[in-house]
């Protein structure tokens, strides 16, 4: 166990910082500090162009294995990349679902042909992805997926029908990975498959959901005999649940560092305001600000543990608590931001409902403790899978 950065790490830091300073210029200057959680609807086209810019510098897939086209950076270098990205105000990543979730999943479960065909699009910042898991009747009870897929008579195409919901960036995505029931009559996590579906077809309709923020990061996605080629099935038919769960394990990998750097920038803004408006002299707010600061450090140390552990999608103890840890931390930061702002928190930037970054943070963080497995589901999973406590009784 050893912390700290070597001389070559520090040289790498210079390289990253230099590249970002040189490239977050011109058309990209306006993207600094934009597009994070609660701001994902901003500048989509410009942020896609930024993904291509990043790719041209070789900064997509920095943690991927070299055989998959990645840079295979060490943990220290990945940490440095994300630190410098945040420091430079690099915008919220449009490509994070492809880079953080699809890439590792195809590396673990995909065929060589699938990797060859699909990974380059992610690495070049050309192909954007969204996640088709939740449905109106399959939220916390994700295994209750009702979206159906069947092979057509030729055996060359899957036909998919059903509805997905809470799909972020669906309207910007080229591809969706869909958890669908391929075994008619099956229930629960049996009979599900993991399909990759191109979004550009008439049989898919995307409908934005207006959230309590007034904005629409999330969507409903309707599949009406939507098509995908037979070679877009990942793993075997019926292995969908296993793959879907492993993918959630990758969500607790290196992508957590990027997320924390967004958090870091948010916290820095709250601290800056506290110093300026006198909140920094309030003993109770000082306690909460210090708690937020050390809490974020702990999230980072958690990530270092995860990155030093197995990278196969399996969940070690530190990974099992990760979602609960960050969502609780973030929701508290949102409230703290309002309390530091005081009266100023109540006044909008503009009509009709133009939220400031911190107002948006305050409202958007209420989603954090719900999506991706609500806190209550997280506690069930921890109790049952990490602590070995009895499983919940299922109703029928």
């Amino acid at each position: 166990m050893k912390i700290g950065f070597s001389k070559s790490d520090e040289a790498f830091r210079q390289e990253v910082a230099g590249w970002l300073a040189a490239h977050l210029q011109g058309e990209f200057a306006q993207l600094r500090f934009r597009g994070g959680p609660g701001d994902e609807h901003s500048f989509p086209a410009e942020r896609k162009a930024w993904e291509r810019e990043l790719a041209s510098g070789g900064w997509v897939g920095v943690g991927w294995r070299a055989e998959d086209g990645g840079r295979g950076l060490s943990i220290s270098q990945q940490v440095i990349f994300h630190e410098e990205y945040a420091r430079a105000g690099g915008p919220g990543r449009m490509g994070h679902i492809g880079e953080g979730l699809v890439g590792p999943t195809l590396a673990a479960f995909g065929t060589p042909e699938q990797r060859q065909r699909l990974l380059p699009g992610i690495l070049q910042g050309q192909a954007f992805w969204c996640q088709g898991y939740s449905e109106p009747g399959a939220g916390s009870d994700l295994a209750n997926v009702q979206t159906r897929a069947r092979l057509d008579a030729s055996g060359e195409r899957w036909l998919i029908s059903g509805q997905k919901i809470w799909t972020s960036l669906a309207h910007e995505a080229d591809w969706c990975f869909v958890l669908a029931r391929t075994e008619p009559g099956s229930v629960g996590h049996q009979g599900l498959s993991f399909l990759l579906v191109p979004m550009d077809q008439a049989n898919i309709r995307v409908q934005p959901i207006q959230q309590l923020t007034g904005t629409s990061e999330f969507n409903e996605v309707f599949f009406d005999q939507a098509e995908t080629a037979a070679n877009n099935l990942v793993g075997q038919p019926g292995e969908g649940w296993k793959i879907a769960m492993a993918l959630l394990g990758f969500e607790r990998g290196v992508s957590t560092l990027g997320q924390q750097m967004q958090f870091h920038n948010e916290l820095e803004e709250v601290l800056r305001i506290a110093r300026a408006n006198g909140a920094a002299r309030d003993p109770l707010l000082r306690q909460r600000l210090a708690r937020a600061w050390s809490g974020l450090k702990v999230l980072r140390y958690n990530s270092l543990r995860m990155l030093s552990g197995p990278q196969d999608g399996s969940l070690a103890r530190e990974a099992m608590i990760y979602k609960l840890a960050w969502s609780n931390w973030h929701v508290e930061l949102g409230k703290l931001a309002m309390d530091v702002l005081g009266d100023a928190a109540e006044v909008l930037d503009s009509a009709p409902y133009g939220l400031s970054r911190l107002q948006s943070l305050f409202l958007f963080t209420r989603a954090d403790t719900i999506y991706g497995g609500s806190n209550e589901i997280q506690r069930n999973v921890i109790a049952e899978r990490a602590l070995g406590m009895p499983r919940e009784v299922k109703g029928r």
Partner: protein
């Protein structure tokens, strides 16, 4: 950067676990609690002279094992898990770091080999904040005399050697503070064991009446000891946080075992979601604390090592504050939950949760409570309060 244990560190953990599961089981802990004046001397002899735990941090040049603070933290986590009552904590986490940071080689050569041999119990007498330091040091002939009082010194009545902080009369704040290594058979010391809420750790009141000390006994440059004392206490807080982590984990493990076995309404108590969610939250806090403690132990390692990374050394305040605040709140929370989730038997003397609850409360206060550590952090982040 590598944030996982080495094979050697895992071996240290496993062998400590095996030893303590027997040597410091509930029966042994309770036997130790009934010894008002000291710790089980046979257990200390085994720890010091057979297992060599006090030698762990001491450099090989002084007869020690020359390992780092991460190895010590691995050990301390197990000590906390089994509520070990022993001179180990004060000797390794207070006295040894202070001596390692000392700028008096003759003094180091005098005492570090004795610690490594497992035959010397040493501790530190120093308040958490410089402003609280009342004991005074006055020049007297070739040397000095110490007067005044240290009101709560961990293991103060049992130790063979005290590192005593004192200030020059008329000095204020962090200036004018010195620290001396004083064998406890020196005349002029009155040491009184206090009766404590947590019976697994000893506190003492130490009165100093014209205690003679010489220049050779100074640990740090005269009048300039505060940075050493502050760093020592931060390092000790990290060691204590490792103990607290072990205690919190054991409080959860006891609760899991009991709720699995206890049946009500025709099912195990562990099968109720109200219980499961509270246990899941305990694990959440424990794993966050584990990450904070491991990181802080790495920082303490760099701080004490001769080849330590200067960038990492600079993180000592923040790392200690983060680890100690998290560990204190986590241990207290888990111990309190373990009483509640044991139900009626959790309120009895016979079952163990109250032992952890009392240790949790005492450890929370020792070496800075969470609010104190967070205020230290706030001062760094936001400037002073006033």
């Amino acid at each position: 950067m590598e944030f996982a244990f080495t094979e050697e560190q895992l071996l240290i953990r496993d062998s400590a676990e095996r030893f303590l599961a027997q040597a410091s089981d509930s029966h042994a802990v309770r036997a130790g609690m009934s010894r008002a004046a000291d710790y089980d001397p046979e257990l200390w002899r085994q720890i010091g002279q057979e297992l060599y735990w006090p030698a762990l941090l001491v450099p090989e040049a002084y007869g020690g094992m020359g390992l780092g603070f991460v190895e010590l933290a691995v050990l301390l986590e197990q000590c906390g898990r089994f509520l070990l009552g022993s001179p180990l904590f004060t000797t390794t986490c207070l006295a040894t770091p202070a001596l390692l940071l000392a700028d008096n080689p003759a003094l180091q050569a005098r005492w570090l080999p004795a610690i490594a041999s497992g035959q010397l119990h040493a501790t530190l007498a120093c308040p958490l904040e410089a402003a609280q330091l009342q004991a005074e040091v006055r020049p007297d002939g070739d040397g000095y005399r110490l007067d005044g009082c240290h009101t709560q010194v961990v293991d103060g009545a049992q130790a063979d050697l005290l590192l005593i902080a004192a200030r020059r009369p008329g000095s204020a704040g962090e200036h004018g503070i010195s620290v001396f290594a004083v064998p406890t058979d020196t005349p002029g010391m009155v040491r009184t064991t206090l009766h404590t809420l947590d019976q697994t750790r000893r506190l003492a009141r130490i009165e100093l009446q014209q205690v003679p000390v010489s220049e050779a006994q100074r640990v740090s440059a005269i009048d300039q000891a505060w940075p050493l004392l502050q760093a020592t206490q931060r390092i000790a807080a990290i060691g204590l946080a490792a103990e607290q982590l072990g205690g919190a984990q054991q409080a959860l493990d006891l609760t899991l075992a009991y709720t699995a076995e206890r049946h009500q309404f025709g099912r195990s108590v562990a099968s109720f979601q109200a219980i499961k969610h509270r246990c899941a939250d305990m694990m959440l806090h424990i794993e966050c604390t584990r990450s904070a403690v491991w990181y802080a132990a790495c920082v303490a390692r760099e701080y004490l090592a001769e080849d330590g990374d200067p960038m990492v050394r600079g993180e000592l305040l923040a790392a200690a504050a983060t680890a100690k605040a998290h560990a204190s709140e986590t241990f207290f929370h888990c111990a309190a939950e373990s009483i509640q989730l044991h139900g009626g038997v959790g309120f009895t003397w016979e079952y163990d949760p109250h032992l952890y609850f009392k240790r949790a409360r005492a450890s929370e206060q020792l070496l800075g409570n969470p609010a104190w550590h967070r205020e230290c952090l706030a001062t760094e982040l936001l400037g002073a309060c006033a």
